[in-house]
């Protein structure tokens, strides 16, 4: 396997994990601020553990028992669906046809949602504690449960896509360990930066990173579908950087076309 495709694998997994973990951290911080840090961090850690186990349970048998060509077609197809969908969103956002991802908005919405639940739980607990003093521990237990569940769900749902990318890219190149390490490094980086800057997550250039990941996943997808089906790429693995360059040009060309020829109406809100 050529060094350039290994580098692209690491960058793609790292960037995808970075984006998804930023989204997950927004929810974890919101849960921590509203419900307490212990359940939120426990929920996040539990989700990361489950995601790690998923990588092992799904990834290792794929590498061991599925013929490489068949694996590459399936993995290439999965990466194509994912990559084209990320690229589509990136083009729509860059050309003003879709609102950019707003971490501050997500943070505020999650805090408000948890606050509303807090108020209703508090009211219920007051009516219980008026009848019995045993109501207080039950209430704090429930608080723990909600904070844990929200953080777990946030990290698990955002991380599922990362698991798919890690397993797909790692299995197709027989580099599952390297792919998992790249994802883990991004998760640790986001956690450390998140702790340092609390919730200044809107500063992360998420749309740009999503564009980069979309380009890489689409390039890998096209390459592996072709490779697995028997198409011989000129230059073998060196075709991957060429495909990356092609899809970068496609991204800029389509964005410019959408911006100039099909400008978004100013008053409408985003579509899907």
């Amino acid at each position: 396997m050529h060094a350039s495709s290994t580098l692209i694998l690491v960058v793609a997994v790292f960037a995808a994990s970075l984006v998804e973990m930023v989204e997950a951290l927004t929810i974890v911080v919101a849960a921590g601020v509203s419900r307490g840090w212990r359940p939120a961090l426990e929920g996040a850690a539990a989700a990361l553990l489950v995601l790690g186990v998923l990588v092992l349970v799904v990834g290792v048998p794929l590498i061991r028992y599925i013929p490489l060509d068949a694996l590459r077609v399936v993995v290439g197809a999965l990466l194509l669906v994912l990559g084209l969908s990320w690229l589509r969103k990136a083009i729509l956002r860059a050309s003003g046809h879709k609102d950019p991802h707003d971490e501050d908005k997500i943070f505020a919405a999650t805090v408000a949602e948890l606050g509303a639940e807090d108020a209703s739980a508090g009211a219920a607990a007051m009516s219980v504690s008026a009848q019995s003093p045993a109501g207080t521990p039950a209430q704090s237990k429930k608080h723990d449960g909600v904070g844990f569940a929200v953080a777990f769900k946030g990290v698990f749902l955002e991380g599922t896509e990362v698991v798919l990318i890690v397993v797909s890219l790692g299995a197709a190149q027989h580099r599952l360990g390297l792919a998992a390490l790249a994802a883990l490094a991004a998760a640790v980086l986001v956690a450390v930066v998140g702790l340092l800057v609390a919730r200044q997550l809107s500063e992360v250039p998420e749309n740009t990173i999503k564009t980069v990941v979309g380009v890489m996943l689409t390039s890998f997808g096209v390459f592996w579908v072709g490779e697995g089906a028997g198409v011989h790429w000129p230059g073998s693995d060196l075709a991957i950087p060429v495909l990356v360059g092609f899809f970068v040009v496609v991204f800029f060309a389509f964005t410019a076309f959408m911006r100039t020829q099909l400008p978004a109406p100013a008053t409408e809100k985003a579509t899907s």
Binding site: A77, R88, L92, G226, A229, V231, W233, F254, M258
Partner: protein
């Protein structure tokens, strides 16, 4: 039994959402690209040109479909 049914349904729902979701044209695109790749088995230059072009073409169609439109008068 109910738990298994629910899990299977959730699993199917996840994959449907992931593969088709609100952009069925991208699922069709992927199927078409895979099909073309098998048709081009062994073709060196033709495959290297047609597969990325086809992906770009479907991407354009999907982006065009997803654009924000002005409200009808």
């Amino acid at each position: 039994m109910k738990v298994i049914t629910r899990a299977v349904r959730a699993f199917g729902h996840f994959w449907w959402d992931f593969l088709v979701g609100d952009t069925p044209e991208l699922a069709v695109a992927t199927g078409a690209i895979v099909g073309l790749a098998f048709l081009l088995d062994g073709q060196r230059i033709v495959g290297a040109i047609l597969l990325p072009l086809m992906a770009a073409g479907f991407l354009f169609v999907s982006t065009y479909r997803g654009r924000r439109r002005a409200p009808r008068p």
